[in-house]
Amino acid sequence: MLKKISKSLLALAIVAAAAVAGQAHAETLINGAGATFPYPIYSKWFSEYAKVDPSVKFNYQSIGSGGGIKQITAQTVDFGASDAFLSDEQLKAAPGKLIHIPTVMGAVVVTYNIPGVPKGLKLKVEDVADIFLGKITKWNDPRIADDNPGVKLPNQPIVVVHRSDGSGTTNIFTDFLSGVSAEWTQKVGKGTSVKWPIGLGGKGNEGVAGQVKNTNYTIGYVELAYAFENKLPFATLKNKSGHWVEPSIKSTSAAAAAAVKHMPADYRISLVNQPGKDAYPIVGFTWLLVYEQQKDKVKGKKLVEFLHWELAKGQKMASALLYAPLPENVEKMVEKTIKTIKY
């Protein structure tokens, strides 16, 4: 009996070893982990790239930006992904030099539910901050009403809904609020999860959208793609240059184009509240995190090849999935950065 078991175990081991060897011969497996927000576009890229280069296979786990940063720092994955750039302290914690590679941009929209008011409510960015601080409490507050002549706003308390889970969306949104309100910076600050002065917490985009949909007189924030797909009403915001801008793929890219002049070499820049006629104010990059010095020669080479392909071809797939592609001049900068990766 025991002999039988050991025999079959041996056979199994041989088969497994053969399978692994065969696979290693056929394809390189590159592991990545991180942000959930860009997951749809990344998985599209990886499946398209499999047609271009069948010898490489990408495995991406969307476990959240925080998890992605932890894993790339611990070198358990070949690349990380994050919606927030790393602080100097976090960069120092990594065993090698980590490079940020911006891939696409996303926007966050302010959504609301006021019976009788369709999409396109106009809000100044300062008013958005004061609503989330709990300083503007009624929908018919003159500060809102003055921007919306002809819209009948009800005399009802505003119910604020925010994300309860830590998220890159919250990071971009609180970064934006910090940029427009000194009081927000001082009282709350920015981060993936913050101490909200007021409001209800919903889990995920779907949690916030569900609460906004179900409850009258609510206001919340969700990703642009999520709002578009689910046809949620969203507000037009007055940006810092004094222009009314509706959220769209175009106005998202415009924000990055406006930031090109002061783009740092490591791309660690916040894109909120950029100047410009068409720049939507609540916009952010999402980044891939890779080590400048790749440990594995084969994997490093394949990864760099993919990054070049992503810039040349992948960018064109972005807007179909409601992500904003990088503006051309940023693309050129990133192209140079990718060339610095050594393997």
Binding site: I63, G64, S65, G66, G67, I69, K70, A84, Q90, P157, V159, S164, D165, G166, S167, G168, V188, G189, K190, G191, T192, S193, V194, K195, W196, G199, L200, G201, G202, K203, G207, G210, Q211, N214, T215
Partner: protein
């Protein structure tokens, strides 16, 4: 004759070696559970060390939870977990015991079996489904119907004040109640079925009505088993994450009103852990996990103490 004994002995010896292996395997399994628990405890303590060092005992009494300022206090989460679970059990226990009594004592056998299988079906539903049902159907109903009614008739109590959002401590309590009822019901049903027939027959022979029979013969016999069922229910309620997160409003504030949003310990871990990038934030979340483990252990210990004192009391009663 001697032949038979010899073969017999031989068989026993073989059995003995089998016994030895069996014993060794079970001991190994039993200890592996202990080892896993110890490893978990060790890992949790070591991961939450930064938070333990910085906040110490204040962690349990602190009211502030601010990841940006790196100030962490867990009291609102402890409050939310304990209050929501206890209230849910207070509502669920009579409901579950009543259902179990109906199934075992009152309903005709067929109907009882049908009701029992329905209850077991409830226990098999994944918690995220309860959560979705809660957020799509229950909270709008609470907001539009139940909360205004409660406010109208019981609004003078501090528990039913403030604006009605739907998502609230009340919603968390109700969803937990629905989730623990099937567990308590199924176990209570088994406990009641184990009450010997003679116990019931004796009561009826003494002229007891059905209610008196249940009150004097059935319930006291099953008392400790029912308490065990309630404790298991509490275990599920306090550890429940997904469904509660979806309906409780996730706001770390302590408020007497059941209408205001609250937050529980498992919810904050589930919500924030994936995106917690600062070491102190992760440590604080681990610290909450550790607290949850300790609270669960304390509740279990208390329940055992209660069971023990009850069974001792029963034994003394029998002697008298």
């Amino acid at each position: 004759m001697s032949d038979v004994t010899a073969s017999h002995r031989w068989k026993i010896e073989k059995g003995l070696s089998g016994d030895f292996i069996f014993k060794a395997v079970t001991v190994l399994f039993a200890f592996s559970i202990l080892v896993i628990l110890m490893l978990m405890l060790y890992e949790m303590v070591s991961q939450s060390l930064p938070s333990l060092r910085k906040f110490g005992g204040h962690f349990m009494t602190g009211m502030d939870w601010d990841a940006v300022q790196e100030q962490f206090g867990a009291l609102p989460f402890i409050y939310g977990s304990v209050i929501s679970s206890v209230l849910a059990l207070l509502l669920a226990t009579p409901l579950a015991v009543g259902t179990a009594l109906f199934i075992t004592e009152i309903a005709p056998r067929r109907l009882g079996g049908f009701a029992a299988s329905l209850v077991e079906l409830l226990a098999a539903i994944p918690s995220v489904i309860y959560g979705l049902w809660g957020i799509l159907i229950m909270t709008p109903w609470l907001q539009q119907t139940a909360q205004p009614l409660l406010q109208k008739y019981l609004g003078f109590l501090p528990f039913f004040q403030g604006p009605a959002y739907g998502v609230s401590m009340l919603a968390g309590v109700l969803i937990l109640m629905i989730m623990v009822v099937p567990i308590i019901t199924s176990i209570t049903k088994e406990v009641l079925l184990a009450v010997p027939r003679s116990q019931r027959e004796a009561a009826i022979a003494l002229g007891a009505t059905r209610w008196e029979m249940i009150r004097m013969a059935v319930l006291p016999y099953g008392k400790s088993g029912i308490l065990g069922a309630v404790i298991l229910g509490l275990g599920r309620a306090i550890g429940e994450t997904m469904a509660v997160t979806m309906v409780i409003g996730n706001n770390p504030k302590i408020s007497l009103s059941l209408f205001s949003p609250a937050y529980t310990m498992p919810s904050v871990i589930a919500n924030e852990f994936a995106e917690a990038s600062s070491p102190l934030h992760s440590a604080a979340l681990m610290n909450i996990g550790l607290l949850l483990l300790v609270i669960t252990l304390i509740i279990n210990a208390l329940a055992r103490l209660l069971l023990w004192s009850m069974s001792r009391g029963a034994a003394r009663g029998a002697k008298l």
